[in-house]
């Protein structure tokens, strides 16, 4: 009993990710002496802070059985609104508030179409991706707007504790919050139940529409927040900011063991997957591998993440099949056991 539990835990996706992470870190250590520099470690998180933030909420959305392709566009729109309003004379705080409201509104729109009109989220948020990006373009056209006050950019650039900027801690706080909410709260339970079997969840008296709208609104909100982080980190904003980010975000979530069909996955897995991808990219950067190659490597990793469990299952089935046919094959000397040593799932 105890042993099988341990075995199940070892076989889990999280364990595999942890091993991969260790390998990546080990290789990075061998490749570069700068890897362990505190500045480099800070950079690992700092340079991808926007994606990291959006990964957190995307995990919820996908576990719920939906997808949000519009996050990068909402992020750009949020940054655009903030920059344009600041340029127009508003304070940063007021601009940020409006940006967050816009993000929330975009998410609400997505959610209403998905939950109440029953349009697949793939289509709704694809339209959103185009529409919200278009709005950002209308606002800024080709201009690059910046010139933010020093205190604002220093929030996104300068170290808060050591070389880690405050946005890193914002992410850490949200990660813990996300983990608690997803794994331990009633809302999290609903997210899983709906993602697994929406009908059964609704028959159990859960308002699935409400949950979905809430998730899309949070997704919009976090995306706009990521937009603000982006503005603070780079110091200027263009309407084409963050193009294609949504795919990286989704990749990390799926690599974290979240099923694209919803219902399964954990925040821990997503966190590990984020660490794997960030460290992998960092290691490749340190070894002067160019960005496009890095992207291909991450893409291959995603495919492998789907293939490996499939292969493992087939291997298990094959083994247990052979074993059932010829028990002595794997058990010379000892008495033949009727059961396979590896338990086959499903």
């Amino acid at each position: 009993m105890q042993r099988s539990k341990l075995w199940a835990r070892l076989k889990s996706w999280e364990a595999l990710l942890f091993i991969i992470l260790c390998v990546v870190i080990f290789v990075n250590l061998r490749l570069s002496s700068h890897y362990l520099d505190l500045n480099n470690l800070a950079n690992i998180f700092h340079l991808s802070i926007e994606k990291s933030l959006m990964v957190l909420i995307m995990a919820f959305v996908i576990i719920n059985g939906e997808i949000d392709l519009s996050v990068a566009s909402i992020m750009a729109l949020g940054a655009t609104v903030l920059a344009e309003r600041y340029e127009a004379g508003w304070s940063i705080a007021a601009g940020l508030a409006l940006a967050l409201l816009v993000g929330l509104g975009c998410g609400l729109l997505n959610g209403l179409f998905v939950a109440y009109m029953g349009i697949p989220s793939l289509i709704v948020t694809l339209a959103g991706q185009i529409g919200y990006r278009g709005a950002a373009r209308i606002i800024l056209e080709d201009r690059s707007v910046g010139d933010f006050p020093k205190w604002f950019t220093s929030l996104g650039q300068d170290g808060f504790i050591g070389p880690f900027p405050i946005t890193s801690f914002l992410f850490l706080a949200l990660f813990i919050l996300g983990l608690v909410v997803l794994q331990y709260s009633v809302f999290g339970r609903y997210v899983y139940a709906i993602g697994n079997n929406r009908a059964a969840a609704e028959y159990a008296g859960i308002n699935a529409k409400q949950v979905k709208v809430t998730l899309f609104m949070l997704s919009g909100l976090i995306a706009a927040l990521a937009g603000a982080c982006y503005a603070a980190r780079l110091g200027n904003v263009r309407a084409n900011a963050a193009e294609g980010f949504e795919l990286d975000v989704i990749t990390i979530v799926l690599l974290g063991g979240v099923s694209i069909f919803g219902g399964t996955g954990t925040m821990l897995g997503v966190g590990l997957s984020l660490l794997v991808v960030l460290n992998l990219r960092n290691g490749m950067s340190l070894s002067n591998v160019d960005g496009n190659t890095q992207t291909s490597v991450v893409g291959s990793l995603l495919i492998l993440s789907v293939l490996i469990p499939n292969w493992m299952q087939r291997l298990q089935r094959l083994l247990s099949h052979l074993f059932a046919k010829n028990p002595k094959l794997f058990n010379r000397g000892g008495a033949a056991e009727p059961k396979s040593p590896v338990s086959v799932h499903q």
């Binding site: 709260s185 009633v186 609903y190 697994n196 079997n197 028959y203």
Partner: protein, 508 residues
């Protein structure tokens, strides 16, 4: 019946898991006859159709076509032998036109479609049937009767020799039924053997030449239609062995919990009236498709009624969502456990606490697993759910244990009214008896229970009163002493035997 038999089914058996769907049944079809097959839900009619059309293979027994044994491994082979089936809901492709639908499975495999020939051939087939349909029209939006005609035309174009019609009239108007019967008579004249399955007795007696009755997967009787009376057919259908089924003990009838007046949701059901008391089990009997589940879904707020009144605990209520119904203390144990009752990959524990998980929060809003576990453990003992662990995914439990988990999850919300939809379908005998005992205990404790069941012995053993529905209509409410398998089945198929249905309706 001088001709040689066209199709002979000899001693065919089929087993699904523990249930014997067909137990050595035989049936002979002659060319040019309409052979009616009667039986309750679960009598084995559908299994026989599936075997005849190659969807299932028999475990034993043989099928002979014109004296030669044939084996049917898929529906293409059945088609090749000239065996085709049409169903209550025709399976047409809505975005293809009528001609394409007719020839969908046997178009010439040319690189290009010869549209002109396709249309001419389609028109020829339809002319043979004596119907006028535009072969270029899309099947989408065609009335059901026309869709069925297309299906029949499809069968004809494949030189069908045995045509199985599975409740073909269930969704048709009287006028359309007349047209369909004219078609059937044409086919009979052309020498086609027709296996006609219907729950409408008058239709059976109008069209059939011979009548066969199945019960519980077994052959019961076969006779020329002239020798059969509706009474006899019904007796053959229901004379089911009761076995040692648990019989509900009398329970004190309390206040009215639910009162339903003139409840309608067209076209599913209309003008449903009943009162349900605390401590009472009201059986809801009828054939599959009679609208019983739809009434339950209306009460539970999933598909609310369009007209009529629901009074719950003396107050008129409008229920629009399961959430609302659940909060009121009205819960529904669905027929399809796997689709609607359980979140299969989630643990047994999480499934039990799902509707009431808000009650398990601590002051920080986090779900307290130990309290959930305590509840699950309580129900595991009380309902003797057999599982090695409370964190086992619900999907890995047996049917009976799954049903106990669904019951636990709803009992844990402390309901006043429990709607059970086929509570013992697909679960083994032992678990069935446990569920029956539980229903009995819950009634003793004063719960009001509405129990939908297609299992007549179960309905009779567990119900204080029985409401019978047929095609969306309430046929009557029978007190316990008036209810027999015959009276209920007669009401369910719209026949009056011994006790006139009109009298039963007085109790409504």
């Amino acid at each position: 019946m001088t001709a040689d038999p066209l199709l002979e089914i000899r001693n065919v058996s089929k087993q699904f898991g523990a249930t014997k769907a067909l137990d050595s049944v035989s049936l002979t079809l002659y060319p040019g006859e309409v052979h009616a097959l009667l039986g309750e839900n679960g009598a084995g009619k559908s299994t026989l159709i599936k075997i005849m059309t190659g969807i299932h293979q028999p475990d034993s027994g043989e099928i002979l076509l014109q004296g030669h044994p044939i084996s049917l491994h898929n529906s293409a082979q059945a088609q090749k032998h000239g065996i085709a089936a049409i169903y209550q809901e025709p399976l047409v492709f809505p975005d293809l036109n009528i001609a394409e639908n007719i020839f969908i499975s046997h178009q010439r495999r040319n690189p290009l479609v010869r549209w002109g020939k396709l249309y001419r051939d389609a028109e020829k087939v339809l002319a043979q049937l004596g119907v006028a349909l535009d072969v270029r029209a899309l099947a989408r939006g065609l009335p059901l009767a026309a869709q069925q005609t297309v299906e029949i035309a499809k069968a004809i174009s494949m030189d069908v020799r045995v045509l199985i019609m599975d409740e073909p009239t269930a969704s048709l108007s009287i006028h359309e039924v007349k047209q369909l019967f004219a078609l059937v008579r044409n086919l009979r004249k052309a020498g086609v053997a027709i296996l006609f399955i219907s729950h409408r007795m008058d239709e059976v007696f109008e069209i059939a030449d011979r009548v066969t009755v199945f019960r519980d997967g077994q052959f019961v009787s076969m006779a020329p239609v002239a020798e059969v009376t509706p009474e006899r057919a019904i007796r053959d259908m229901v004379g089911r062995e009761i076995g040692d089924i648990f019989v509900k003990e009398p329970s004190p009838r309390g206040d009215v919990i639910l009162s339903v007046k003139a409840l309608s949701r067209e076209p599913r059901f209309r003008n449903i009236n009943f009162e349900l008391h605390a401590g009472e089990v009201l059986g809801l009997a009828g054939l599959v498709g009679a609208g019983r589940t739809d009434v339950a879904l209306a009460l539970f707020g999933i598909a609310p009624a369009h007209h009529g009144h629901i009074e719950y605990l003396g107050k008129e209520v409008h229920i629009h969502s399961p959430k609302q119904a659940t909060q009121m203390g009205m819960v529904y144990v669905p027929e399809d456990r796997r689709q609607h009752g359980l979140v299969l990959p989630m643990s047994l524990m999480a499934n039990i606490s799902l509707p009431s998980v808000k009650n398990y929060r601590n002051q920080f809003g986090m779900v307290q697993h130990h309290k959930e576990a305590a509840t699950a453990e309580h129900y595991r003992q009380q309902l003797s759910i057999r599982t090695s662990s409370l964190s086992m995914p619900a999907g890995k439990l047996s049917g009976g244990n799954q049903q106990k988990v669904v019951l636990s999850k709803w009992l844990n919300t402390k309901p006043r009214l429990l709607i059970l939809d086929e509570p013992t379908r697909g679960i083994d005998v032992g678990a069935k008896q446990e569920v029956h005992r539980l229903i009995n205990d819950l009634a003793q404790q004063g719960l009001a229970i509405l129990m939908i069941s297609s299992d007549l012995p179960e309905v009779l053993a567990m119900s204080d009163r029985v409401l019978v529905m047929r095609e969306g209509q309430q046929m009557g409410i029978f007190e316990r002493h008036e209810a027999t398998q015959e009276t209920i089945m007669a009401a369910a198929i719209g026949q009056s035997v011994e006790k006139p249905v009109e009298r039963a309706a007085e109790y409504a």
